[in-house]
């Protein structure tokens, strides 16, 4: 049996502990993520799914509980550059061109010049933005900016891609196209993806597993395996099994909201 990529054991996160505004964001989270999984966190807003993503990425320290990433602490995994991050906003640096943005992590990680440039070209080809390498972020559409952000996240070959509602701010058409592109990239790179989303359709279409969380305090209430065959394409969305799984997620979400109240 292979080692899990992420193993979370009884993690709790309380913000502002001991103050009047104390909020329990995560409660008793247990989760194991295997290599090459595409796992989505879904739940009502404020349920702590983004917090859970940040706890895995060592951007937030949990109040209690243990996390192992690639058999080491999350902190060590961050120092080892195991994570690629993509946020809802592309968060490109406006003073850098597209190519320079993709190169940012490579510069920080002291890649030799040739490898840096080769890797940048490779990444821009992957997200089909080769012609835009000299453009500045403001010259690109929202969807293109997000593709640059993905290229940047993948440039240094991290083992885990953390995505926090990456397509949340995009229109439906762009979102569907980028979903297909992301699946393609995932198949090519076989990276482990942890994906936070509000959209049931997106979660079911992309994932191998959907984790449904309850409203505050965030707990995992369902863990649904998505057994749709790969490769998936636009036809997948019209598959009967797709509807069944969507319904299952939807019902779990409804349940989670009732529990939260």
């Amino acid at each position: 049996m292979t080692n899990p990529v992420v193993a979370i054991e009884n993690v709790n996160k309380i913000f502002g502990e001991g103050t009047e505004n104390q909020v329990q964001a995560l409660k008793e989270i247990d989760l194991v993520i295997q290599p090459n999984e595409f796992i989505s966190f879904i739940g009502p807003s404020g349920c702590g799914k983004s917090t859970l993503l940040r706890v895995i990425g060592d951007l937030i320290t949990p109040t209690s509980g243990g996390i192992k990433v690639n058999s080491k602490s999350a902190h060590q995994a961050r120092l080892d550059r195991d994570y690629g991050m993509v946020f809802q906003a592309a968060t490109l640096y406006e003073w850098r061109t597209v190519a320079k943005n993709v190169q940012l992590p490579l510069e920080l990680m002291k890649y030799p010049k040739e490898k840096k440039e080769a890797r940048t070209r490779e990444m821009l080809t992957l997200v089909e933005l080769t012609d835009f390498h000299k453009h500045y972020p403001w010259q690109l559409s929202g969807g293109m900016q997000q593709r640059v952000a993905i290229a940047r996240a993948l440039a240094f070959e991290p083992s885990i891609l953390l995505m926090d509602e990456p397509f949340g701010a995009l229109d439906e058409m762009t979102r569907e196209r980028l979903n297909l592109e992301l699946l393609d990239i995932w198949q090519k790179t076989r990276i482990t993806v942890i994906f936070v989303t509000h959209s049931i359709t997106e979660a079911v279409f992309l994932s191998t597993r959907v984790v449904v969380m309850s409203a505050r305090p965030g707990r995992i209430i369902r863990d649904i395996k998505i057994d749709l065959p790969h490769p998936r394409n636009s036809d997948t969305r019209e598959n009967v099994r797709f509807f069944e799984l969507e319904t299952e997620v939807r019902e779990a979400l409804r349940e989670s909201e009732n529990q939260g109240v």
């Binding site: 951007l59 640096y93 003073w95 920080l108």
Partner: protein, 318 residues
């Protein structure tokens, strides 16, 4: 359609000319005294004059012509064979350029206050630039230090903001006392203090107003504090630093000239202006003020040009 790059300057230039013509005309028509408001032509004649030599006969009565030549009128037409006794006021002037149109010879000469004003301007500009460079550099340096050590920022910022809203120029007599009234350092130090605070406050703001997501991104790469400073905070601060520089540039000219109003060497701009005004020579005081304005605008334009070079990606140049 895309406009020609010079086309956008046409309208402001036309407005400037109209305003000058109206000013000239109204001062003459309403018979406003020169000590209240000199005509633009009288102001300009301090810097340069146009002498038109015509093939006309010398008039019987040359007193009016002699008065015009003496009185610094901007454009004077003189018969070509006028005697040197009449031409005396302009004979020693430096000729800037001359050319002929038909049988008229046109000569552009330096006005009698051109050299004093330019020398005074240069002297004061050096004071302003010295203070500007020292004050702005220190402002940036201290801001960088406070960005690195948060406690220094928390300790210094309230004072910086308080001092920035004080009329620092009021300290000019103190500085004159400390460094000596004729010593350019007295004005430079006032200018440096005036430039320091807006520069420091703006830079600190730019270094700290970084998007939280951008910082998270850096943390996810396990970037060092130095990398975050050089690859995120400083580029993020550039637009703020340039607004600081623009404010500081304007303040530096104000600081230098007003500092000189409280006393300074005779060759300083502020001293020249106060002296000319005290002697009721208002048109030359005005001419000096105009040169001071041009120097201020020039400084501002240089900063904008550098800004364009340094950050072509910025919103303001799209």
């Amino acid at each position: 359609m895309r406009k020609n790059r010079y086309e956008k300057y046409i309208a402001p230039v036309v407005i400037l000319v109209i305003v000058l013509l109206l000013w000239e005309f109204l001062v003459a028509a309403l018979q406003i005294e020169e000590f209240l408001l000199p005509r633009p032509s009288a102001i300009l004649s301090n810097l340069g004059r146009v002498i038109v030599f015509t093939p006309n006969e010398i008039p019987e009565d040359t007193s009016e012509l002699a008065a015009q030549l003496k009185a610094n009128t901007l454009i004077v037409s003189v018969p070509q064979n006028a005697p040197t006794t009449i031409l005396k006021p302009i004979l020693s002037a430096t000729v800037l350029t001359q050319f002929s149109i038909g049988s008229n010879k046109i000569m552009l000469i330096q006005g009698q206050n051109f050299m004093p004003i330019v020398q005074a301007g240069w002297f004061t500009l050096k004071e302003a630039l010295g203070g500007f460079v020292v004050g702005s550099s220190l402002g940036i340096l201290i801001a960088l230090i406070t960005a690195r050590w948060t406690t220094t920022r928390e300790a210094l910022m309230p004072f910086a903001i308080a001092v920035n809203s004080m009329p620092i120029i009021a300290f000019a007599p103190i500085m004159n006392n400390w460094f000596g009234i004729d010593n350019p350092f007295s004005k430079m130090s006032i200018v440096a203090i005036m430039c320091f605070f807006p520069m420091m406050i703006n830079t600190v703001r730019g270094l700290t107003l970084v998007e939280p997501r951008s910082l998270e991104l850096m943390r996810s790469y396990a970037a060092s504090g130095f990398a975050i400073l050089f690859k995120l905070r400083i580029p993020n601060a550039l637009p703020f630093m340039f607004s600081g520089l623009k404010v500081a540039a304007a303040l530096s000219m104000i600081g230098a000239i007003v500092g000189e109003y409280f006393g300074g060497p005779r060759i300083a701009m502020g001293v020249f202006i106060t002296q000319e005004a005290a002697l009721f020579r208002f048109s030359s005081a005005w001419a000096a003020i105009i040169i001071a304005c041009i120097m201020g605008i020039g400084l501002y334009i240089i900063i904008i040009a550098v800004e364009r070079l340094v950050m072509p990606w910025h919103v303001s140049f799209r």
